[in-house]
Amino acid sequence: MSRAKDEAARVPDPRVPSGRQMPEENRLTPPVWPGGRTAAPGTDFSVIGRRNRKLEGLAKVTGRAVFADDLSLPRMLHGKLLRSIHAHARIRSIDPSAALAMPGVHAVITGRDLPAWFGIIPWTEDEQALCEEKARYVGDAIAAVAADTELAAEEALRLIRVEYEVLPAVTSIDEALEHPEWKVNEKAREGNISKHVHLEFGDVDARIADSDEVIEGEYWYEGSTHAPIEPHCAIADFDATGFLTLYSSTQVAHYLHRDLARVLGLPTQRVRVIQPVVGGAFGGKSEPFSLEFCAARLSMDLGRPVKILYTREEVFYAHRGRHPMRMRYRTGIRRDGTLTGVDAKIHIDGGAYSSFGLVTTYYSGQLLSAPYKMEAYRFDSTRVFTNKPCCGPKRGHGSVQPRFAFECQIDKLAEAVGLDPIEVRRRNFIGENSRTVNGMRVTSNGFLECLEQVERASAWKERFRRMPYGRGVGVAGSMYISGTNYCIYPNEMPQSGVQLKLDRSGRATVFCGASDIGQGVESVLAYIVAEELGLTLGDIRVVAADTDLTPVDLGSYSSRETFMVGNACLDAARRLRGLVVGTLAEAWGCAPAEVKLAGGIASTARDAERERMSVKEAFQRTEARHGTLGSVGWYQTPRLGGDYRGGTIGASPAYSFTAHVAEVDCDPETGFIQVKKIWVAHDCGRALNPVAVEGQMEGSAYMGFAEALFEEQVFKPATAAHGAGLHHGPSLLDYRIPTSLDTPELESLIVESVDPEGPYGAKEAGEGPLHPSVPAIANAIYDALGIRCDRLPFSPPHVLRLLRAGDARAVWQKARGQRSGHVPAGARG
């Protein structure tokens, strides 16, 4: 592991004093509105906070919503990708002649036709749309066919002759480290190291030495994948003017736009990316994929539209899902429950390419430093390349794994000092308006209320360590970012832009690059405009994620949409609101603040008879007074983060906080774990629509539960006699996502801390609530059975092995004795 040391040596001084921050700079300072961003435009909210419908809801439930594969263009051809059958192989030659000779086949392209390197992070561009020299995992794309039908394209693939030189495959973290000479990815500066980060804040060893109890644990988080129900699909249409239109099931139209133009050698102004309705993404559609480049190239070559739709199997190869992580934690605590030092060593299995891996490696440490105070913190994370599909950002990118390990550590530490685990979390609460040990600014923070809510709702005090053998409850907490300060490519432009158009018809149209992937960001835009301009939701149209029509928003990742798009939209809407109420105030001779816009009516309280008109008429008066009505709004993050290399990664304008209690019912005879219920309390700042927030909370808790008990994106080892690196079962039969019968009851408890910088105080809700599911279930299993599940998934064979490995019953009994003999200091009332 000399490699890791060298990398560490390049970091000038990894020990940085905590509390320092980036220099303040005014960049695109947002406007200041009376009452602040958190206030209602009038006296109270009329749209925000209500259980409203979603904008696109009826289209989705009536089957009218148009997803990418629902589109069909005249003369459209169908493309398919040829994929490598070897985990690691040099491509000696590709002979497409037999395929090209097949009737109905129009073109075959290979790596030579798309030689440009790309990658979502500009520092690590290590992918090609089709591998030119070498395939790096089973399923890596090496050629593409366009044909009249999917069947013809598929049959043509089998006629392409590829000569491979098979190379040794690397399928595990240890192999990657032990065999730097089996280089998976030539862009790696050394061996198979994708990224190494070593950061230390405070004197960790001294703080740990100064603890009453120290717990060391090794944890394994198995890889998992997003498995959106919609497979990836793209349709490219290159026209006679040299203009490329690409429809794609992406969640980052803007980044796709940039990379498409570059890889295809087109000016960006000649490329348009349109995101149709997307059928789930969860991070799995947050970077460009082979199908988009290949459809585009084939369309450019043939002058016809080309559609490529991935099979479910290909979705597993596209992957970019949860990284497998091996994590060693050493954590200290004092008798009073104070956490002292945290020391983490993390190895990350990245698969064949970088993807967001640079960020993942930082996130594996940077996002752990709240909601608890830490006196000192060190993490050393290494991401390695292996011959497997590339991992990337899955819901809770990079931080779900360490959160699992750390929240289990806290459970063990609490037991070691004889304190209730909720009480330990409470005592270490970092507080509002605080700063983390690694220099992250925390503003609003509703974590204590989250803990209280789950404690009360789950009847924790009556249940914890008090239920019969086999049944138990567990708790965990977490925090997550509301978007990231770290911009994927360096620029000083806004992260999010909105254009708003009002016209004399009484309609408002919002144009925004935001990407709705089911979380409802288009509806968020509409709610804000409705609130500010007094419109009903039906009078608002949202045009989103079309790079020709909409100003840039960076897309749906890192839980940024509500916060950033919402802020941009709020400013655009308030600008126009100012014109409208100003016009009416002038006409009625009142103060602008006296004009009320709500429910389609403009009015004042002082004379509701005469000072009253429809909002439509108000728009007409305003248009007559000010000319054509339009406005823009944008959001740019303030400078945040620690003043050290990587200090902006993990910096966010606001953090959400979550606590879960999980209840399990275990079968000690088989090892089956049934999660009966999860109580989810989440501080989302303010729920712009509680239905949507609850939906995100429940969906997140479900997805964490699924990873805890069922899901494994795993591959045959390099030592396998056949099929090294082959996915164990790339289908929704073998990759088991929970059914309606498996999923626990989920109870959402919304906590509103009202963030000073969020739109009306809102923060994220889409990813944070996933984190505590896994450790809460692990801790509940300990309460139920007396075993510590430190490896995922908690499958029946694994649980049964743990039960047999030691005297679980005695451990269980001992934990109970301790509980009954101890009254936690925090158990007030």
Partner: protein, 330 residues
């Protein structure tokens, strides 16, 4: 999407028409009823028939009839119909139970009794796409020469994965097989053979036309238990069917069938001797569990910890016997 290969299509209106066509094109046909097994397998290129003979037009084969001899079931009865039939639920509750546990509601609406009995054997190295199998290097059952479950194995060990078959065997059921110009009956136990490539005695041109459950199976104490990770959709990774005839307080005879292990459901040996004259109780459940544990050895054909599945054999046998002790299955 995953495409279907090209094939010709035949949809006979009568059984005779079907049998004639099968006889005339022996070895070139794939019989499809509900299609829930055959169609995914076609998409995986596991079969390459010239003709798909679709039985959906033969209404005469979708019957449930009571007779003095017992219950007669047509092969085209859907699994939903089977599990919901009042006579089946009353007289053969473990059969209704097994049918109700197959896959998902939609698949039970489509899938048929005959199809479930003739389900192609399953293996983690076989039920995959052509691409996947090519990357593996294919296997003994299809296009290849090696077995990935039993290295150096010469015989395919793909697993029998029907839910209803072990129960029907435990009930002593038989099947009637027809071909153009002839019929034969055989006990369901003998219908299956221990060859994963083709695990039943059907010859090209033959098909099941009737399943008979004997009248004497009414009143048996029964149990069925299925092991699967999820509560729906999944195939069994272990299934246990148990029946016992109890006279007064003592067992007269019993049958214990364990499946989803190899190509043929395993009828556990020595059970009659063990149970005869014994009370049907927890002690007997334990003895049966131990006998089954010794006789069963799960393999890696099912991609789930085989040692654990072995450990689950006695657990699930005990549970199936407990069903019977409790008076049936719910």
């Amino acid at each position: 999407m995953l495409t279907l290969p090209a094939f010709e299509w035949v949809r006979p209106r009568t059984l005779e028409e079907a049998l004639e066509f099968l006889a005339a094109h022996a070895g070139q046909c794939l019989i499809v009823a509900g299609g829930t097994d055959a169609v995914p397998n076609l998409k995986h290129r596991l079969h390459d028939p010239a003709y798909v003979v679709h039985l959906s037009g033969i209404r005469e084969l979708a019957f449930v009839r009571e007779s003095a001899d017992g219950l007669e079931l047509g092969p085209l009865v859907t699994l939903t119909a089977l599990s919901g039939d009042a006579r089946v639920r009353r007289d053969y509750p473990s059969l209704a139970r097994a049918a109700s546990l197959v896959a998902s509601p939609q698949i039970r609406n489509m899938g048929t009794l005959g199809g479930n009995l003739c389900l192609d054997t399953r293996c983690t190295y076989y039920n995959q796409t052509f691409f996947w199998r090519e990357a593996l290097g294919f296997c003994l059952k299809k296009e290849g020469t090696v077995c990935h479950v039993v290295p150096q194995g010469r015989r395919c060990v793909a697993a029998h994965s029907s839910d209803v078959a072990p129960v029907l065997i435990s009930l002593g059921a038989s099947v009637e097989i027809a071909r153009s110009g002839g019929r034969r009956s055989i006990s369901l136990d003998e219908f299956f053979v221990g060859d994963g490539i083709h695990n039943n005695v059907l010859e090209p041109g033959e098909m099941i036309v009737r399943v008979s459950v004997p009248a004497r199976a009414r009143g048996l104490r029964v149990g069925y238990q299925k092991l699967r990770p999820r509560a729906a959709i999944d195939f069994p990774m272990l299934s246990v069917a148990f029946t016992a005839r109890v006279d007064g307080a003592r067992c007269e005879e019993a049958r214990l069938v364990v499946s989803a292990l190899g190509a043929k459901p395993r009828v556990i040996g020595g059970v009659d001797a063990l149970v005869k004259g014994q009370p049907l109780d927890e002690a007997l459940a334990e003895s049966l569990a131990q006998v089954a544990y010794r006789q069963c050895r799960p393999l890696t054909n099912v991609a789930y910890d085989d040692d654990w599945r072995h450990e689950m054999v006695p657990v699930f046998v005990r549970r199936a016997v407990r069903d019977a002790i409790a008076g049936g299955v719910s």
